[in-house]
Symmetry: C2
Amino acid sequence: MISTKMKPLVENNSVIREMFEEGKRLAAIYGSENVYDFSLGNPNVPAPEAVKESILEILEKEESTFVHGYMSNAGYEDVRETIADSLNVRFGTSFGVNNILMTVGAASGLNVILKTILEPEDEVITFAPYFVEYGNYVHNYDGKLVVIPPNTVDFQPNLEELAKKITAKTKAVLINTPNNPTGVVYSGETLKQMAEILRQKEKEFQRDIVLISDEPYRELAYDGVEVPYVTQYYENTVICYSYSKSLSLPGERIGYLVIPDECKDSKEVFTAATIANRVLGSVNAPSLMQRVIKRCIEKGATVNLAAYDRNRNLLYEGLKACGFFCVRPEGAFYLFMKSPIADEKEFCNQAAKHRLLLVSGSSFACPGYVRIAYCVSYEQIERSMTAFQSLAKEYGLMGG
Amino acid sequence: MISTKMKPLVENNSVIREMFEEGKRLAAIYGSENVYDFSLGNPNVPAPEAVKESILEILEKEESTFVHGYMSNAGYEDVRETIADSLNVRFGTSFGVNNILMTVGAASGLNVILKTILEPEDEVITFAPYFVEYGNYVHNYDGKLVVIPPNTVDFQPNLEELAKKITAKTKAVLINTPNNPTGVVYSGETLKQMAEILRQKEKEFQRDIVLISDEPYRELAYDGVEVPYVTQYYENTVICYSYSKSLSLPGERIGYLVIPDECKDSKEVFTAATIANRVLGSVNAPSLMQRVIKRCIEKGATVNLAAYDRNRNLLYEGLKACGFFCVRPEGAFYLFMKSPIADEKEFCNQAAKHRLLLVSGSSFACPGYVRIAYCVSYEQIERSMTAFQSLAKEYGLMGG
C-alpha cells in the first residue's frame, strides 16, 4: 500500500524516536528514575511562567473566534510585527511584517522554504554532523542532500570543502548554529568567510544560492558567547526559527521563517512560502500559540538557561573525570562525545545495558561519536554518573 | 528563485484567500458591519466554553513539560484512546489507539495520507464541486487529480462516472461529506454503492483503492440527517477529521486520521503515515490542543449548531424570496447558489459592488454557481438581505 518513497523511511525509522519509545519501555520496567535517557531533545526545563500567564490573559481578554480562528496564512500581523521589532532591536536588522512568516515549528519552516525553492535534483549542502531529518526534508522535494564530512578537531564547518562541493546544481546551504549535535556556535568570522565563498560561487555559476539557517537553539548559548545573526552576513539568507527550545514549547509547533528584503526576489519568495505553508497542510501556525508568543516577547520571557548551564557543567566535568573525550559545548543542550571504540553503535548498546540511552553519531553522519542530550533533570545527570563510571571502566578509561 | 512547481500556485493564488484579504480591506474602508463577507469558512460561532475550561484545567493540573512537550509523533496515547472510544460508542466501530493519528488539522492529515500512499502519476478521483486545495495536495506528491463533473441536479456523487473514471492508475477516491461547497450529505445507500464499485474495480485492476473521507463538517448536519461513518461501508477507508468546525478551532490546526485495522496493510500504513507526519514538518499535532480535545470529548462539548441552523434557514429563505435558486444544504455551513448568469465570476464582481463577497463556483470546478459561507453572524445575514435584493433586481429576479 505505501509509496516507494516512503518505504526506506519505514525501514529505517528514526533511531532517535525508537530510543524515545525504548526509554518509555525501560522506564515502565525499572522506574523512570533508574533509566538515564539522554536520547531526545525534549526540554526538561519547563516553559517560563509567562506562557501560562499569557494564555490566561488571552482567554480573559481576547475573543474566542479571534484567538482560535483563521488569520492570514502567514500569521497574525501584530504577532509578526512584534517578532520583527524584537529582532531589529537585538540584531540591528530592519525587518517588517512582510519578512516574518509564522510556521508549525522549524521543521515545518524548513519544509516550507525547501518546497518554495527546490527543483528536483537540486543540491542542498550541509555539514556533518547534522540532524538526520534534513535528508528527509530535502528528499520530500526530490532534492539531494550533499554532506560535507565532519571536522572532528573542533566541529567548525569545513569551508574549504564547502567551496569544493558547490556545483551548478547547488541551490542552498543549510547550517545549524548553535549546533545539534555538537553544541558548537559558528563565529562571525566563520559566517563572513562562508558568505564570501557563497557570493563568489553565485557569480561563478550564475545562480542564486540560499543560506538556510536552522536556529532553534539561538537563545541557548553559554559563557556569554555571541550567536551572530546570519542575515547580517549574507543577503540570500532565510532563517528558520522555533520556540521549541527557547520557550520549552516543542510539542506546540510554533516558529517562524525570516525572509529578508535583501533576499533575491524577496516578495515573490515570501508569497510562495506562504502558499507552501498553506498547501503542505499547515494552513497557518497554531493560533493561540502565536498570540502567546507575542505576549511572551513583550514580557521578555526566557527559559531558565542557568539550569541547562548547570547540567552542561556537571555532565562535561563528570564525563571528563571518567576519561571520556568531548568538545565543551558552547550552545544548545547536547554534548558530542567520542566513543572509546570505533564502532559507536556497539558502544551505545553497551551503554544501554547500564540504562544509559545515548544516540549514535552515525545518525548524524559522524560515526565514532555519541550524542548526549542534557535537557534532562540535574538529578538524572547526578544519578547517571555511576553508570557512566562503570561504562568507562569497561573500556579501561578509569581504574576499576 | 522559486521552484517551477510553485510558480503556477503563486500566479493563481487562492481566490478565497484573496477575498479574505479583500474583505479586510473593504472593512477598513466601510466598517466591518457594512461588508457582507461570505467568502471564508472561518466559523463565527465561538468555541464552546469547554475549550476555555479545559485549557484552564490543564494549566492548573498538568505539568508544563508534559503539556507543551514532545510526545509520540502519532500523538498522546490517552488522547487517541479517548477519540477511539468516542467513535466506537457513536458509530459501532472498534478502533484502538493504533488506528488514530493526531494531525495538524485535516489539511495536514490529507497531505500525510497522500504522501504515504501516492506514487508519481497515480490518480486520485474526486467529485466536483470540490475544495480547490485537493489539487494542490495531490500535486505535492506528483499525483494527478481526476475530477468527475458535477451532478447539478442534486449534487450527489455521480457513481456511473466514477465507475468509468477508475483506471489501473487510480490509487484513491477522495470524498467530502457533509460537502464543501454544496452542503450535501452522502447517504448510506450512496456509500454502499460506491463501496461496491470500488471493490469491483480493485478486483478488475488487481490494485488497492483507498477511499479517503475528508470530514471536517461531520458534526454539522441539520434536521436530524444521519452522516454515515464511511469505514462501516468500505474496508480501505482512511478518515481525515478536524476540530476546526466542530469545536470552532480552525486556527489551532488540530485533527486526526483514522486508519482502521480493516485497511490493507493497516499497521504499515499507520507507521508510514506517522513518519510522513514527522518528515513533512508537523512532527506532531499541537500538544496543548491535543489535551484540550481529550477533555472536550469527556465533557461532551459541541459548538452551537442551532446558530448555524438559524443562519441556514434565514439565508436560504431570504435568497429564495429574492428569486435565487439553491439546493437546501443538509450539512456544513455553505450554501451553493446558482448564478443568474452563466459567467458566475461576473456575477461575483457585481455582488462585490454591493459589498457581498461570494466565491465563484469555478474555484470548485463548478462554474455557474457561487458559494455563500453562512458561518457569519445572524445580523450579517439580516443586514445583507437588502444587498441581495438589490442584486436580484439587477438581474430581473424580483420586481424593482
